[in-house]
Every structure is written in structure tokens, then in C-alpha cells.
């Protein structure tokens, strides 16, 4: 399924003054996600149509329970769509098996969570290296060094999550998410558990990744100040996107 869209380029790294014809890296078409509460079907997504171009930094905002996280999990392949299509880098997740979606997630997606979700038994080095290990190419010391230096983690690598501040933990989580050079970063309220100062650090880093490396980022947030770091803000309500969809 080839979907193309004409836009004004959102990321400066990709910009030129002329309009570009770029294939979206994420496309959802009439995307439905239904959860089951006993015998009752609860729709979290009700036919979402959403597109993200390579190099975009998109924030998804909306009230609790509007389906933001569900959208992120379906795009990330953690949840299966109930109906509709989800294309990630040209791969239709709705038609893929769990194993295929796992493989796609391993190679093309990096997650950053609100609660950091580091493995408590591993130190910072281990938490980052495990992503490389799962990726399958083994430990790449050069890439590891570049990432940890960029995120200011060089001095904290031997510390376990319990020995680090929230900001440091989130930076480790970002390092883990980007160490394999995924095409898309999916960030679920990455500053939700951080104070203002650490929130600014984390958001600056995400913004830097987007601007300097052209990293595609989709971020869920409640915070308009956080959303301001992104190039585009999409609002959701009751399982649908109510604005912010780029024009075809």
C-alpha cells in the first residue's frame, strides 16, 4: 500500500524551500482498536486516520482515555489493530503476525515510556546494551559511546536504575531507544514523571535528535509546553483525531 502526501517539510534537516513529495513513515487508515471488558467491547480507537512523515516530531495530545497510548501501542506493534490498516515504513502491521511485529519493533521502533521502564537488575550500560543484543548485531562500542556521550551518561553507566535520578533514568531509556538507530521513536509521556528541569533536558534531547539526526518522533503528552518542542501537534478525543492531520 503506497501512500504519498505532499507537505511543507516539518523538520529543518529535511527542508528545502521547495515542496517535497515524501512517503509517510507512519500511516493509519480507519484504525480501530477494541478492548474487551468482560463481554463488553470498549473502543479505544474509532477509525483513526493519521500520517507521520520521516523526520517529523509529532505530539499527540488529548484527555485521559482518549486513545493516545492505544494509538502509540498499535503503531509500535505492541497491540494488534482490531480493524483498519497501520503502515510503518511500508509494513502493514495489521497483516503481520506477533513474531513479525516483534521483529519490526526490534529493527525500526524505539520506545520511551513515562515510567522509564529500565530493567532494575541491569546497570545503565546493560540497559542500553541489551537493546543492541536483542537487535542481534551484538555490542557496537562506537555507537554506544556516541549515544551515551550525547546523552551525558558517560559517568553513570555503572549505576543501576535505583541509583539514578528520574532524569538520568529517562536519558538511559532514550539511549536504549535510539541505540539501534530505529526509524521511529515512540515516546509515551516521557516527561510525565520528571520535574521541570529534567523535563526540559529530556525534551531538548528529543528535539535535538529530531533536528540533528532527522529522527522521527511521535510523542504522547498532556503538557502543552512539552508539545511545543514538536513540529506538529495532533489532538485526539474519544478515539479519533480531531485536528492536526496534514493535508494530502
Amino acid at each position: 500500500m503506497a501512500i504519498t502526501t505532499t507537505i511543507r517539510p516539518p523538520a529543518e534537516a529535511l527542508l528545502s524551500t521547495r515542496e517535497l513529495r515524501v512517503e509517510p513513515i507512519v500511516v493509519t487508515e480507519n484504525l480501530w482498536k477494541l478492548y474487551h471488558a468482560g463481554k463488553v467491547e470498549v473502543p479505544a480507537l474509532r477509525g483513526v486516520n493519521f500520517r507521520v512523515l520521516p523526520g517529523e516530531f509529532v505530539s499527540v495530545m488529548g484527555p485521559s482515555g482518549c486513545g493516545k497510548s492505544s494509538l502509540l501501542y498499535v503503531i509500535g506493534g505492541l497491540a494488534q489493530a482490531s480493524r483498519g490498516h497501520v503502515l510503518v515504513d511500508g509494513n502493514d502491521l495489521a497483516a503481520m503476525s506477533d513474531a513479525e511485529r516483534t521483529k519490526l519493533r526490534r529493527h525500526k521502533i524505539g520506545f520511551v515510556f513515562q515510567r522509564f521502564n529500565l530493567l532494575p537488575t541491569l546497570d545503565a550500560r546493560g540497559n542500553i546494551a541489551i537493546a543492541q543484543h536483542i537487535y542481534g548485531d551484538g555490542f557496537d562500542p562506537h555507537r554506544f559511546e556516541v549515544i551515551t556521550k550525547m546523552l551525558g551518561l558517560t559517568e553513570r553507566l555503572k549505576h543501576r536504575p535505583s541509583e539514578m535520578s528520574g532524569g538520568e533514568q529517562q536519558r538511559v531509556a532514550i539511549a536504549r531507544a535510539i541505540v539501534n538507530e530505529p526509524k521511529i521513536i515512540l515516546a509515551d509521556e516521557p516527561t510525565g514523571n520528571l520535574d521541570t528541569q529534567n523535563s526540559e533536558i529530556v525534551l531538548s534531547m528529543l528535539s535535538q535528535l529530531n533536528k540533528e539526526l532527522g529522527q522521527t518522533i511521535i510523542m504522547i503528552t498532556h503538557n502543552p509546553e512539552a508539545a511545543a518542542y514538536s513540529g506538529r501537534v495532533v489532538h485526539m478525543r474519544d478515539g479519533v483525531i480531531v485536528d492536526g492531520v496534514p493535508a494530502d
Binding site: 505492541l78 513474531a99 516483534t102 521483529k103 526490534r106 529493527h107 530493567l119 546493560g126 536483542i134
Partner: protein, 366 residues
């Protein structure tokens, strides 16, 4: 990286790991000690009987190779008939009596002269041979276990014996009393439980046995050089089943403890499993990580179990010197494999559960 994850996870909950390791250790030690005790006793008994030095043993029809289980008696006059056979050098009638007072013992009632002719005599560590009806000989292990000394009174079979001598172990039984005394005490006058036969040369054994068979039809005629191979658990009714049951019980302990331990691990690490899934870990990766943990616990447990086996044997032998526990490399390897297989089997269900966990539910687990 996987190794690091596994090791760190195992060390994360030390008490749970220690309990699991001990459970596997107990499993391994139980298997090694039960098999070791059984085979040790059988082998030691066989060696003692071989150590008599006879060539042939004659027992009543259907008598067991396990002498303590042979209740039937034969007329002692059979000895005279045996002595008439060609190539027979000496015949020693023996009456066996099972005693369970102060331990499990088999007492040999012997005629000192004929037993000496067959066995080349005892090696006396202390004292002298039996001279009086109430004399008893103990081997060194029995004397140590029962704290008996020469010239002391030793009560067995509800009878006070005089310890005439302490002999080197390895001549059939651990206690020897005069044949006639034991016949009186057991109400088996002029009876014997078995006859040991010494041939003029060992290579005459087959000829003597061939000559004996038509004279003693149905009797158990066994060459003693094969005795060791006959003393196996499979030849003792129920023993194999007992060993198998005990091994199954031991394995069940290890299996259940690992199952429970890994199950609680999976519950506790639900969020971590979600994290691994979110970074692209396959089901196989998650299963391997959990089986790796179980395997590591098993390997440590096996090492602990082997150490426990040797410590247990030392403790047993210090309390019961007449026991023999044979720890063989063969059974160490087998018990290790049994424990490893049980541990992996025990961990496989929790690992399977973990691999099938819904990533989103796992990530939101508190």
C-alpha cells in the same frame, strides 16, 4: 549480555535463589545418597561374601541371592555328601540369623574349623578364635559401631555372648557365633542355611557344579566369582521400585520448587517482560532468559547437592560405621542431569507464560 541478564536476575533475589538452590541440592543429594546407600550396601555385602574365598555356594531351592531373605534350611548332612565330590577341597555349612536388635545384622553360625578351611581363616586384630559355645567374633566395623571390645559381653539374639575376638572385615558377615549355638537359639538343630564349597582349584568350579546339579536338583548352586554381578537392586524384589519412587520424590521436590520460584519470578518481573517485548525481544528470547536462570540455579544446586552428598555420607558413616555408601561418578552425572531436566521442566511453564504475556498489560503492571 544474556549471561549478564541471567546472572543479575538470579542475584536480584538472593533468598529465593538460595531456597531454590538448596531444593535442587537436596534433590541431587537424595538421589546420590539413596542410590549410593543401596548400591553401597549391596556391593559391600557381595564383596564380603566373595571375600570368604569359597568357589561355590549351595542354597535351598528358590533361595534368594540376598542371604538375609533366605529362610529355608537344609540338613547339615549335605556337607558330608558335598565333601565326597571330586575336586571338593572343603565345605563350610553356615546358618544365617537375621537380627534387628541395635541395628540390622546378619549373624553367621559357623563351624570354626570348616569355615577356616574354606576361607583361609580370619585375620585377628584382637583376641582369638571361638572356643566356647557363647563366644562371638565381631569384625572391626561392627566392633566400632557397637563399641564392643574383646572379653566384653555382647548381647544379641536375646543372648549374652563373650567377645572372643575382633577380626578384619570382609569374611561374609560382621558377627560370627558357633554353629551349634545358633542352631539352638534359632531352633534349627542340624540345619544350615547354605554351604560354602572350596574346590581344589578354581578352574574346577564348573566341574563341581556340574556334578552337584543332578544330586541337588532344584537347589541354587552359584559360583561366587559371579556373586557381585548378581547383587543388584533389580534382583531384589521391590528395591528397584523403591529407588525409582525415591528418585521421583526427590525430582518432584526440585521440580515444584523451581516451578514455584520461577512462577513468582515471572509475576514479579511482569513489567520487565513487557519492557523486553517493547524493545523487540522475541518469545524465544524471553523463554531462553528464564530457562537460563533456572539452569544457573540448577547448576549451582547440583554443585551444592554433590557437596551435600559427600557431607551426608561422612555424617552417616560417622554415626553408622557399618553402612556403606557408594558415590559413583555415574550417578553424580545422572543425578545432575535429572536435576537439570527437572529444573528446566519446572521453569518451562512459567517461561511459556511469560513469553505469552500481553506486552501492554505487562508494561502497566505494578
Amino acid at each position: 549480555m544474556m549471561r549478564r541478564l541471567v546472572v543479575n536476575n538470579v542475584l536480584h533475589r538472593p533468598i529465593r535463589t538460595i531456597v531454590s538452590v538448596i531444593a535442587v541440592g537436596v534433590e541431587v543429594a537424595l538421589v546420590i545418597l539413596i542410590v549410593g546407600l543401596t548400591s553401597g550396601l549391596l556391593q559391600e555385602t557381595a564383596k564380603r561374601i566373595e571375600g570368604i574365598g569359597a568357589d561355590i555356594m549351595l542354597q535351598p531351592p528358590s533361595a534368594s541371592v540376598f542371604l538375609a531373605f533366605s529362610g529355608a534350611h537344609m540338613p547339615i548332612k549335605i556337607a558330608d555328601k558335598l565333601r565326597e565330590l571330586r575336586y571338593v577341597q572343603a565345605v563350610a555349612p553356615v546358618l544365617l540369623q537375621f537380627s534387628s536388635s541395635g541395628g540390622v545384622d546378619i549373624i553367621y553360625g559357623i563351624d570354626p574349623k570348616s569355615f577356616r578351611d574354606v576361607s583361609s581363616g580370619f585375620v585377628f586384630l584382637e583376641g582369638h578364635d571361638m572356643r566356647e559355645p557363647n563366644d562371638i567374633l565381631l569384625d572391626d566395623w561392627a566392633a566400632k559401631a557397637k563399641h564392643a571390645t574383646v572379653d566384653s559381653t555382647f548381647r544379641v539374639l536375646d543372648h549374652d555372648f563373650h567377645v572372643a575376638g575382633i577380626v578384619e572385615h570382609g569374611k561374609g558377615a560382621r558377627m560370627f557365633v558357633p554353629l551349634s549355638t545358633l542352631q539352638d537359639l534359632s531352633g534349627s538343630r542340624d540345619k544350615a542355611s547354605l554351604f560354602f564349597i572350596k574346590c581344589t582349584r578354581p578352574d574346577h568350579t564348573q566341574a563341581v557344579m556340574d556334578e552337584m546339579r543332578p544330586i541337588f536338583p532344584g537347589y541354587e548352586i552359584r559360583p561366587l566369582k559371579d556373586f557381585l554381578s548378581l547383587m543388584t537392586a533389580s534382583n531384589l524384589p521391590g528395591l528397584d521400585a523403591f529407588i525409582t519412587s525415591m528418585i521421583a520424590l526427590a525430582v518432584s521436590i526440585g521440580f515444584l520448587v523451581i516451578l514455584l520460584s520461577m512462577y513468582t519470578t515471572v509475576i514479579e518481573r511482569t513489567r520487565d517482560i513487557g519492557v523486553l517485548k517493547s524493545i523487540g525481544a522475541s518469545k524465544g528470547y524471553i523463554i531462553r532468559a528464564l530457562l537460563g536462570e533456572s539452569a544457573l540455579i540448577c547448576v549451582i544446586g547440583i554443585a551444592v547437592g554433590i557437596a551435600m552428598s559427600y557431607a551426608g555420607r561422612a555424617a552417616f558413616l560417622s554415626s553408622f560405621p557399618t553402612l556403606s555408601i557408594l558415590i559413583t561418578p555415574d550417578w553424580i552425572v545422572r543425578s545432575a542431569l535429572i536435576a537439570l531436566a527437572g529444573g528446566l521442566l519446572g521453569a518451562s511453564y512459567p517461561a511459556w507464560l511469560a513469553s505469552r504475556k500481553d506486552a501492554i498489560e505487562a508494561l502497566s503492571y505494578d
